[in-house]
Each structure stands twice: as structure tokens, then as C-alpha cells.
């Protein structure tokens, strides 16, 4: 379990050094995207329209923050991760087209995303679900927001962060996925639990 501190833009070479169970802290630019922003970003790509920001080497964060606005200035009040599985239907294309190097979320992702992470060079960093203030304290500046018409949770927020983490590297570019490993073990131990509860199956 090694600890890495990377600055964006992160290179493919650097990200491939990471292995599952390592801990990563990211400094630089991260952008939020949930279901709606993923969908719109991919539509833009299909239509040949540029995104509001070049995402190459950056981190995409599955997050719908609590924000407040004073004058023209936005502040991230609370900004923990949302469940990543909802983005599974978009993420392989997202990684492939926009070359993000870190996907930050909670709950893990499926095989399609795991394959894309290995193929294009990225990691999935699990941020502790609900640890919204820990995350917000690492956000030093809200650089901007795009697509506010989607509502504040679904908009694309551009954050400048300092040592954003700890991110548990849960899917690495070598095809490992902690969540799948845990699930496998849980399934293997299921009969033992049934027995404890006096169930015959």
C-alpha cells in the first residue's frame, strides 16, 4: 500500500504506476459529472462539439455538491461522491474520448469501465461515501460551472483542489478491481452465513 500524490494533468505513464490498495491524493483540476453531464459530454463528442474544458489528464468526480453563491462567487459547501455504478453505461466512452486519468466516486464500477481503465490508462479512486466536508475542505476554489440548466447536482463543476483524498485505488490499469474481489469473496462465504442463521439451502 503506497501513497502517491499527483498533480494534474496526470500522464498515462504515471497513472499506470498505481496498483489497487494504493492511496492517491490529487492536486490540480477535477470536474464533476453525474448521469446527465456524462450523457451530455458524450453527445457533444458525437456532434464534434468541444467540451467547455479539455479533460485530458484530469480527474472526473462523480459528485453532486452542495454549493452556495455570494455575488458571482461559488463555494463548495459539501462535496462527497455519489454512487458510481449509475455512470457505468457512459464511463468507458468517457475515458476513451476525453482521456481522463482518474475516476473518483464510491461503490465501484463494472467490467466495461474496468476494461476501459486498463486499456486507456486510468484508475478508479474510491472516496469515502458521505465524507462531504473532508472533500469540500480540499476544494480550494470553484473555477467555474457549466451546464447549470441540468440543476446544481447534475451540472459540471470545475474545482481546483489540493491533496484531494484519500482516494483508495480500487480499480487499477492492470485489470484489478477490489470491489469485484470483495464481491467474489462475499459470494463464496454466503453458505457459511446461511448455516449460521440455521437456513438449509
Amino acid at each position: 500500500m503506497a501513497v502517491y500524490k499527483f498533480k494534474t494533468p496526470i500522464s498515462e505513464e504515471d497513472i499506470r504506476k498505481l496498483k489497487v490498495n494504493d492511496v492517491l491524493y490529487v492536486t490540480g483540476t477535477i470536474v464533476t459529472a453525474r448521469d446527465q453531464a456524462h450523457r451530455r459530454a458524450l453527445e457533444f463528442f458525437k456532434q464534434g462539439k468541444p467540451l467547455p474544458l479539455n479533460l485530458e489528464g484530469l480527474a472526473v468526480f462523480h459528485c453532486g455538491p452542495v454549493v452556495s453563491k455570494e455575488g458571482d462567487k461559488w463555494t463548495a459547501v459539501a462535496a462527497g461522491p455519489t454512487t458510481s455504478t449509475r455512470m457505468d453505461i457512459f464511463e468507458d466512452e468517457f475515458i476513451k474520448n476525453f482521456k481522463v486519468r482518474v475516476v473518483i466516486g464510491k461503490g465501484g464500477m463494472g467490467k466495461k469501465t474496468t476494461d476501459a481503465i486498463a486499456k486507456y490508462g486510468a484508475v478508479y479512486g474510491a472516496f469515502t461515501g458521505g465524507a462531504a466536508i473532508l472533500a469540500a475542505r480540499a476544494i480550494k476554489n470553484v473555477r467555474g460551472v457549466e451546464w447549470l440548466d441540468l440543476g446544481t447536482p447534475e451540472a459540471m463543476w470545475i474545482f481546483e483542489v489540493e491533496e484531494f483524498g484519500p482516494l483508495a485505488v480500487a480499480i487499477d490499469s492492470h485489470g484489478n478491481n477490489i470491489f469485484t474481489d470483495v464481491q467474489k469473496k462475499v459470494e463464496e462465504g454466503k453458505q457459511r452465513i446461511y448455516q449460521k442463521l440455521g437456513l438449509t439451502t
Binding site: M1, V66, S68, V77, A78, G107, A132, L134, V186, Y194
Partner: protein
Amino acid sequence: MDIGKIVEDVAFNLLKQAVIYLPDDVKQALKKAYAEETSDTGKTQLKAILDNVELAEKYKAPVCQDTGTIIFYVKAGSEAKDLDKIENALINATRKATKEIPLRPNSVDPFTQKNSGDNTGRYIPFLHWEIVPGNSIELTAMTKGGGSENVCVTGMLVPGEGINGLKKFVIDAVIKAGAQPCPPTILGMAIGGGADISIKLAKKTLLKPLNESNPNPEIAKLERDIFEAANMTGIGPMGLGGKTTVLGVHVDYAFRHPASFPAAVAFNCWAARRASARINADGTIEYLTHKIK
């Protein structure tokens, strides 16, 4: 005396208490879990949770960015006056809390996908009414996160399998939910009544403190058995592996139709946010779960 205004102020305070300050019983359970967790990754997750709980209190900010769907449980004394003012007052409190705490706007029209922006909408905030003897009004605010809501289940089990069917149903639900509901979670379970009644009762048990087990010793034993079994799964904090998967289990029941065995499991994330207060007939207020800060 303006009951509407009092209810609005109290509901606003309850929402604020609930989203910022975790109940003491939940904090204690998290600390115990951290002390006992043996997986390194699991321990890191619990440490981040505990640090975050402390930071939320320090900066008076919502403990989780998903400030949930807002639900109120109202126990109205049958002799309390102006009960017709309560619904509007709770809606106003919700709007004010969304703007001032602030809360994340979490109320979306399912047909147009438009977010109302203020946490209100058709049936939202949802109000559960109960008429009780007396002249006071007891209000409870629950702000229920979406991640843990997405794995709640209701099932119509086979009556012949009895409680064993229920045990399998809940363990399978915990395993299927895996990392999604932000474990360690709290499980609310209920049997009987009907499909709607079982999930309603299950969710309501999430209002109980973790250290309050069912007064019926047999049901309390079922709660303990499920608790131990769920923690044997190895799902662990945030699904990254470990021995802390649930912090507590509550069971409730209603009598069932002879042909039916409805069962429900309501999950709550570790950020189990709830707060209650009593408004007495003379307008005095007692905060029941949090000391007003």
C-alpha cells in the same frame, strides 16, 4: 400564538440539526467500529468518516452532500390546535433550510426531469401523520440519502418458509447492495401488513437509536442474529472489505394476511440523519434528539 410560525422554526432547526450533527448513538457505533475493524482499507474509510463527522460539526456544514429526500413524521395530539397549519409550515421550513443551511436541491419532477430547486414538489417533503392523545405536537425530520434508498427492497415471501425466509431475504439484500448504500449501514426490517405497510414500518424503525433493541426478546435475538450475519459478509466499510458492514438492525412487524408474508428492508447509510422535537400546547419546545446549538 402562531402555531404555523413555531412549527416552521422548529422544523428548520430540526433539519439543521439532522444534516450537520450525527446522533450520538451513531457516532458511538462508528467509533466502536473503527476500534474493532481489522482491514487496513476498512479502517482508512472509517477514519475518513469520523474525521468528516468532526469537520461537519466544526464548520456547521452538512455531513454529507446528499442532504436527502426530506420526510417529516408528525405525531399530532388530538387536542392540539391549528393542525391544518402544519403542512404549509413544513414546506416553508424546507424551502428556508434549502436556501440557508444550505441543502442540496433533491426534488425532481420524474416526467420533465426538472429540479424544483427548493426540495419541494408533489408530495415532497413527505408527511407521515399519526394522531395521538394529548395536546402537543411531536415532529421528526428524516433526511434520507439516495444511495441507501436505491437498495431498499420489498418482497412477498412464501408464508411456509416463515422467519427463515425473512433471514435469507435480508442477507441476500445486504449482499446484493454491496458497496452501494455507503456501508456501514443501518438496516430497518419489517414483516406483515402488506407490501406498502412493511416498507413503511421498516423505514420508520430507522428513527430508533441504535442501542434500543426490540422489547420482545425473540425479536431482539433476530436483530442480533441478522447483525452478526451481515457483518460476516466481509463487505466492509464502503464495500472495500472488512468486518463492519452494518452498525445496527431494527425489526418491526404487523400481523399478516394468511396467504401473504410481506417483508421489507430499508437501508440507511452511516450518515443516519434524524432529529425530533416536541411542541407543547403552551408553545414551549423540547428538542428530543439534539441539544439545540
